[in-house]
């Protein structure tokens, strides 16, 4: 029997707008983590929520066409970032995971303090995205 295609026009159209909003807000959460509530973990959960919304509105095949990424590799890259900031402290003759910061002049943003904890947070961010999406895609694809 011919299976009728589900008529998900409303959901798919709204997803196109909303997922960008969620990803933008999650990036804001990620960068706000040092001074405000937020940080790598919440930002990553929100980004993966946006990707899960795409999974709900479309299907797994569409998502892997949009983002052809193996999420296990993303997890590995995140762990490398997190460990790399720790080892970076050892190279400068200070204990493991000692962080450093300095003021820099960026072209558009003016004087900004850049802290190496941000790179550690980036590691957490990538790791959490990788783990969450690996779990959800594995459960979703097994029949």
């Amino acid at each position: 029997m011919k299976k009728r295609k589900p008529n998900d026009l409303v959901l798919q159209t709204v997803t196109k707008v909303v997922s960008f909003l969620i990803i933008l807000f999650s990036i804001r959460m990620f960068f706000a983590g040092h001074y405000e509530p937020g940080g790598g973990f919440i930002g990553a959960l929100m980004t993966s929520a946006a990707l899960v919304l795409l999974l709900l509105a479309y299907d797994a095949k569409t998502l892997s066409t949009i983002l052809p990424i193996d999420y296990k590799i993303i997890t590995a890259i995140g762990l490398v970032f997190a460990i790399g900031t720790g080892v970076g402290g050892v190279l400068f003759d200070v204990p493991f995971l000692t962080h450093a910061y300095d003021k820099f002049y960026l072209p558009l943003l003016g004087e900004q303090t850049l802290h190496s904890a941000l790179i550690f947070d980036l590691g957490v961010y990538l790791g959490v995205i990788g783990v969450t999406l690996t779990i959800i895609k594995t459960i979703g694809e097994s029949e």
Binding site: K3, R4, V10, L11, V14, V17, V18, L21, F25
Partner: protein
Amino acid sequence: MIVINSLIIILTILGSLFALLAAVGVLRFPDVYTRNHAASKSATLGITCILLATFLYFWFVKGEVFTSTLLGIFFILLTAPVAGQLIARAAYYSGVKLWDKSGRDDLKEKAKAYQTEH
């Protein structure tokens, strides 16, 4: 200042009244579709009013502009009706009956075709 303060008070009270009305509607209405109607519309407007009051409070009283509340209003206005539509559609296609006194059912033929297919 007094205008802003009274505007904040009115918006807060109006928003909580709308949310209360939504709750009463969910309790009192007879079937899924009318309840969904009450919950999605009235609660959306109530939350919008309360978030707007929060934004105005932090802007004029505390002197900080929290754009995330505006983003929240936009987000709620965009997504809550879609959630209502999806719940109502899922209820309809899984065969939930309408209230006995409702007169029109335009989707009847389509639902029958859908159910014979599955």
